[in-house]
Symmetry: C2
Subunit: 284 residues, 2 copies
């Protein structure tokens, strides 16, 4: 297969901290992608590669003498942007035993009695696993900023707390991959309309989705600020244009593959003598 990527989306889509400008990212663009290629083919053709890399990560986590690493994929986006599709079509390509997927909803009363990272820490991936957060601690600086759920100075303080938290994770062997799926307001309307058109998709629709659309500019501003403040060297953001679902999925799959390749893992060495075991087994 010809490489459908002219350039790595991991480099192209990386948000450069304080100079980042969300309004300059066209949600309908497909950076790095050769337009003659089919993104679904790419997803299928590289599914095995992603699964093999995940298995090696898992194997290392399972053995005493393995490298103890994990990966955390943080997905943030406006509704309908395709977080669920990433989980299904990209994460769905690896062994489900090697993943830990958690969707963060409105916090429970118990969760609200703790600091905002308390519930987050409980869902971190164990060694060897790929963790996926469908929404995350970023809600505490996104919807909290937009809907004034916390005082401004508390939200302000959280950017730094998040950077400390993610640096701590990284130092302890968790590679943090942050992805914002970026769709346009018009594309969101089309996707919501199609949910209304299909009775088998009504369960995915909520009248609140329209209320949230009224706050579109405020959310874009909150994303802009959050990304500027938390796209760090150790845990950068990738802003993935997502009006094309196939492109967004292909980009995230490629970002994950490159990230796992960078870990440069090898199969853990046997901590037993292979020939001795062959003999024991033959005799059993």
């Amino acid at each position: 297969m010809k490489n459908p990527w002219k350039d790595s989306p991991r480099a192209l889509l990386r948000a450069e901290g304080e100079h980042f400008d969300l309004s300059a990212v066209d949600p309908a663009s497909t950076p790095g992608w050769r337009s003659s290629c089919d993104a679904d083919d790419y997803l299928a053709d590289t599914a095995r590669r992603l699964a093999d890399l995940q298995e090696m990560l898992f194997a290392n986590g399972r053995t005493e003498n393995g490298a103890h690493r994990s990966l955390l994929l943080v997905l943030q986006a406006m509704d309908t942007a395709g977080k669920g599709g990433i989980v299904r079509h990209v994460i769905g390509n690896v062994d489900p035993q090697g993943t830990h997927i958690h969707g963060f909803k409105k916090p429970t009363p118990v969760e609200l009695k703790h600091d905002f990272l308390w519930r987050i820490r409980k869902e971190l991936p164990a060694t060897g696993l790929i963790g996926v957060f469908d929404r995350s601690h970023y809600e505490d600086v996104l919807v909290h900023r937009v809907r004034h759920l916390s005082p401004a100075e508390v939200v302000e303080q959280r950017y730094g707390i998040i950077n400390d938290f993610e640096a701590e994770l990284t130092e302890q062997g968790t590679t943090v991959v942050k992805v914002m799926l970026h769709i346009s307001k018009d594309e969101q309307r089309r996707r919501l309309e199609s949910r209304l058109d299909r009775p088998d998709k009504h369960w995915k629709y909520s009248p609140n989705d329209v209320d949230e659309r009224e706050l579109w500019p405020a959310y874009q501003e909150a994303y802009q600020i959050a990304i500027q403040r938390t796209s760090t060297a150790v845990a950068p953001w990738h802003v993935v244009p997502a009006d094309s679902k196939p492109y967004a999925r292909a980009a995230v799959q490629r970002i994950l593959i490159e990230t796992l390749e960078d870990l440069a893992l090898t199969w853990p060495k046997a901590d037993f003598d292979v020939e001795t075991e062959r003999e024991r087994l033959a005799a059993s």
Copy 2:
């Protein structure tokens, strides 16, 4: 596609409680399967059906007016029998967001301070989910019986406790599907040998696997007794011949599809007015 099943494996493989005889089940057999058909093709061809049924279960769990049901697949087997392959190749066919997979290892010191179902209850599937237990509360009557980890009278008492527990789950909307993957001792040796042959599979091998083989007859007896005592009308066991991995996977996929079909779910009705929402959305 021609139906490759002459008869439903769900009926054929169901263990009939006190009259069940494990030694009468040939691990190399493929009950109900038309030998001219390819089990991998069957898995691929019905993956979509399984995924659609799972999505409907999930949708119902997500809505106020939905049916609140869940499914729990309990997988038990001797090592190498293919539990992991079931998770990867059958459960891997559905949206990973709709599953909760948990592998039960040796209990932790904290877990040992509680009754044997304490850690089990914590991993039960939420409404709308398919839960998968890779090993389960049955370890407490299998390895505990074989290795005398609990007194005989405690193990004895647990069969009844398990039946009560599973009846309780069923009454509360969780359909319990119990599967024992049944392999032969020779097939296990071949699979362990192939792990020794491949350095990329050494991490899956443990010298303890050979020690366990010495106890093969005791484990078979423990399975026999456990199945006799806990294959109830509400939570029957299915003993799936597993020397053929493709057969075992096809059988479990078919059992899950039939079980989900029996729930006779429908898409949850909208709790909003569709036309009103169309207008609000168009104006937004």
